[in-house]
Amino acid sequence: MNKRDRADVVVVGSGMGGAAATKILAEAGLRVVCLEQGKWTRPEDHPHTSPDWEWQRMTNWSTAANVRQRPEDYPVDTQDENPLMWNGVGGSTVHYTATWPRFRPSDFRKGTEHGYAPDWPFTYEELAPYYVINDRDVGVSGWYGDPAMPPHEAFQTGPLPHGPLGRVAAKGFDKLGWHWWPMPCAILAEAYDGRPACNNCGNCQSGCNRGSLADMQVTHWPKAIKAGALLRTHARVEHIEVDRAGRARGVVYVDLNTGTRHIQEADVVILACNGIGTPRLLLNSTSGRFPRGLANGNDMVGRHLMHHGLAIVEMWVDEPLDSHKGIVSAAMMCAEFAETDIRRGFINGLTIHIARLNGAGYQAIGSHSVNTAPWGKSHHRWFRRHFAHGLCALIVGEDLPIPENRVTLSETMTDSSGIPAPKVRYRLHPNDRRIVEFGIQRALELAEAIGAFDVKVNRFEVLGKGYMPPAWHLLGTCRIGDDPETSVCNRWHQTWEVPNLYIMDGSNLPTSAAVNPTSTIGAMVVRAAMHLRDNFAELRRAQRTLRD
């Protein structure tokens, strides 16, 4: 073991959770060190100006670490999915779509509603002020007044351009008599906070080389660093050290540039490594006192993994839609089916998101629905008919927290530092399959309503494997709760077993709702980090976890 260092707080991971927590605590004058196994992504590192930008999106900019295989990536041992994650400063906000809807009030009350998922330890109303704080840091575009959501503060900018694709989809929803609304996005329609407006380039999932999309590298980190936070890159955390009293002493990390191991000591340890990375780290932190891994005495760490049930229905119409222009996802959202209605044959609900199709190469290989252009003489005829004429309806269904859907440690795979890889098992529950199928049928009705001449459904079914989703959202594996027997953290994100160990990322979510989670992850972390900040003198020495 080499270098020792001591901080008030050490944060592991620099994505939405780690960035927000670091910023809040550093601005309060605390000495905060954030350890990030990856590196900064410079504007010129993105593929946006290269002719082969689409190929890069499929390879070295793939959303799946197992495809990218960059030095800073770790493998994920799974046959069930292709999880999205980015191991670098900003975490997965480097290459997400920045779709920014809030959870709805009933999402926090599933225990009350049907009892097959827990109530959250707080309500929408308790979280709402923290959505506002985080939104101001991020910069959100949207249109105020959605009847399908509680009233809240206006967005930082107006909505992004809808283009012909938005008009056609809106007409379809209107014809069907369904709700639709411009989707809130953490992508700027106007300049805000020193960042420029989006110029509609259509390549959001290779990140944003302009800074218009809310990558934590451009939203939170400059402010956190200005406040005195230390962000240490190429620092891969191996395990958490505990002292004799069972409190976290700090973390041991590998300097990926030298291969040497160091300890970062701190009064408080915060994990923010996403719904796969955080349980992996806890499970790898075994000791005589914690033989099952840290904070895992109740065997809850790694369980209840959720991603959302997903299907994609694409449709092509005669009218040009400019499907290659504008943000990829999502122009608008239909929340007509978001609340539970038992008559549909399932609990929970879904939303339908209208998204775009990327460039010519991607549209030719079938865009998101694998409607691949034929090879041979008919190729160009197909291309003339389809290119820029399609739109995508994403079915985003709430998935239940299933104990068997879980992250454990791989017995066969390690990363380049010899640390066991996470092993992921995930199956969609039959209830959630019904949600997805219901959503597909509604999207097919939309296709009919807009007069589509071609429709393709992607159920993410792989021959011999079954449902194999891209797993864009990594949720639920270290959930918060009021019951120490069924959760990993209390309502302030403090782990039940280790009073100075906190978790602040997507793994905290007790339920997944039916929308993208990053705005909610940000709001939860702001809430938890502000509580930690306001009670730091007491909590840094805590011998017991707060019970309320």
């Binding site: 002719p51 709805r104 225990g111 009350t112 509609n200 504008g326 090879w375 190729h379």
Partner: protein, 183 residues
Amino acid sequence: MPGNKRSAKTESLNVRKASESLAALVDVLLPGDSLFPAASQTGAHQMLAERLRAHQGADAVERLIASLADERRAFADLAPDQRIKVVRRLERAEPNFFAFVRAATYFAYYQHPLVVRAVRRLGHDYNDAPQPDGYSMPAFDPQVNAPQHRRGFYKKTDEVAPVDTSSLDELLGELPRYPTSQQ
């Protein structure tokens, strides 16, 4: 040495034949028409070879060439109809490998300036790359783009009440149950 010379010459011929076969393959996949160039005119076969080696293994090009040979005749030497039959055979026999070949070829093709120009001639505003220019789109116009309906609802926190799930008992049977909170 005469033997080495013969071997070098044979190797050179093989390399040339392999290149011709890859060019013929990409032209079967993406032949030209009145507007679009044939794939080999864009160098898609060279990019295909690079991408095969980078992502499918060092011997992937040789594997593809071998898969395309028909009764020991190189793909480049086959008649046009026979080439199509051979490609169909490969598509059936090795669907995953073929999908890679097709995707790599399509992406290589559509990134070429000649093809980008052809896409533009179809009437589309289409850039060589997403940046630096991006695309001009009319800003969101509330008069045109804002929803005019008042559809949509949500359950308020205090409106969330237990639903009768008895009709779904079989579906949900084995799942753990959670208590309601007291708030």
